[in-house]
Subunit: 159 residues, 2 copies
Amino acid sequence: MSITLRRDVRAGDPVVVRDITESTGFFYTEEVGTAVELVEERLAKGEASGYSFVFADDGGRTIGYACFGPIACTKVSFDLYWIAVHADGRGKGLGTILLDESERLIREAGGRRIYAETSSRPLYEPTRAFYLARGYREEARLAEFYGPGDAKVIYVKEV
Amino acid sequence: MSITLRRDVRAGDPVVVRDITESTGFFYTEEVGTAVELVEERLAKGEASGYSFVFADDGGRTIGYACFGPIACTKVSFDLYWIAVHADGRGKGLGTILLDESERLIREAGGRRIYAETSSRPLYEPTRAFYLARGYREEARLAEFYGPGDAKVIYVKEV
């Protein structure tokens, strides 16, 4: 595996993002749709969309990506909207590579606080452990946010 | 004062919303711009924008408004994005009228949890008191979210 990171967003990336997010088994259909919408908005509006991307290409195939951007009306806060690795590419540290590169780019863009949100459902235990192991701390939980018994967990990291 | 509430969004409303939000002294220029963008997006995309509005008209003049919508990827959670009354119309209970009507419409649309966010700065003490007095409870604080010493306070109410 020889990974190349790229920031430019291409016409084929909405399909790529759909394929990656669907393969993970972590996202509802509606969430996959939202992930794809952010890529489409980026293609339509460019940087003005507020969404930046990092894609991980393994040869000709894109097997993971992250999406982040500045939070409106804040000074130095950024949201990490999505980070996902294709089921075929898991267990190889790609999530960490994508997160490290996202943090570097956020810092370069003036960001100093990164927020990541996920669900409290058991399915997301690995996701929560992933953030905690990489210097994020849990700052808040919004009970029942996503649905019954399904809280939103908000992580933050200063960079 | 004879107040009429309306839900339809008109071509002149971006200017109206700019005028109202600027008059309050509560919002930064960037925030006023964001408030106006939501109206423009509603005019461009209709209900598909995800933004619903209630405007309070006093005769021919619009003197307050609220903006809310469902939160993507949640079952019954709604965001109250904006609620503002023109400086000329304050102290007459218009905020409460707008909030009551927003809550009614959210419930009608299937919403059961309403989230409202504001800043921890002293300027917003009346805003925080407004929510607390109307059945909202503080669920979380994100320290330094907006800027140094400026936390995001998240309120929630079940409806």
